[in-house]
Subunit: 147 residues, 2 copies
């Protein structure tokens, strides 16, 4: 049942994200926001690093960045030092959008745990953090190097 609980909570998380950001006038997914935040914090990173930072696989992030590029929010450029890699950065529009959405996203975090008392919430998040931190050290993550 643990898996089911986690799924429900995650489902609610994405749902709240969609509703809140849409109500604020934005059309964005949680992954797109995460990717843009990572790119903002590390301009000109390559896609693989973006994927690693937010714990997705390369293929998924490639698609996400495709869509962000189509919307004119990010720009891709082949790296000069490594011609395999593509450096990604936010465009002006991307920066503007990110700074407009960020406060909305910050505020909705509280809503995710609306069934819990403040104290419980803190406990829950601390334990979640610990459980998630443990994953970073596990060898068996879904980052999928070519086997």
């Amino acid at each position: 049942m643990a898996g089911h609980l986690l799924r429900r909570l995650h489902q609610n998380s994405t749902h709240v994200f969609q509703v809140r950001t849409k109500k604020a006038g934005f059309d964005m997914t949680p992954v797109q926001f995460a990717a843009m935040s990572a790119i903002h914090a590390h301009p000109d990173v390559d896609q693989a690093t973006v994927a690693a930072m937010i714990a997705y696989d390369r293929a998924t992030i490639g698609g996400v960045i495709d869509r962000l590029e189509q919307k004119g929010l990010v720009a891709r450029e082949v790296s000069k030092s490594d011609r395999r890699a593509k450096q990604v950065r936010l465009t002006k529009d991307g920066e503007n959008l990110l700074s407009a959405v960020s406060p909305v996203v910050r505020d909705l975090q509280f809503e995710l745990m609306s069934g819990l008392e403040p104290k419980e919430r803190a406990t829950f998040l601390a334990l979640a953090k610990k459980a998630a931190a443990h994953l970073a050290e596990e060898p068996a993550r879904p980052h999928s190097p070519d086997k």
Copy 2:
């Protein structure tokens, strides 16, 4: 960051599910398992009820049952009392597969929280349960009646 934590934990949950069940020789997704469990517990339910029981929307469950039917694990039949509804039940193969997979799934639940001490685990699950239970009463769930 709460949303990100929940995503990570859910991601790990599905990953562990895949790895464990695959290692045990099965080819099944978490949703398929959840659907089959629900159908097993309530033979001849209609799809909408299945969706409600495991907190998915009708369209997704329709696709999941499509694939389960193709694999010969479930059988669909138009309800006699309501010709809109389709009753679903497990086939012999479905029952066999479910009972073979169930212990594997039961065992892997512990692994999901492997970063926490037993006591912490209990606390975490209790809070997760409470948070999830709260969602059931919220009006804003993604069940999507035709608006």
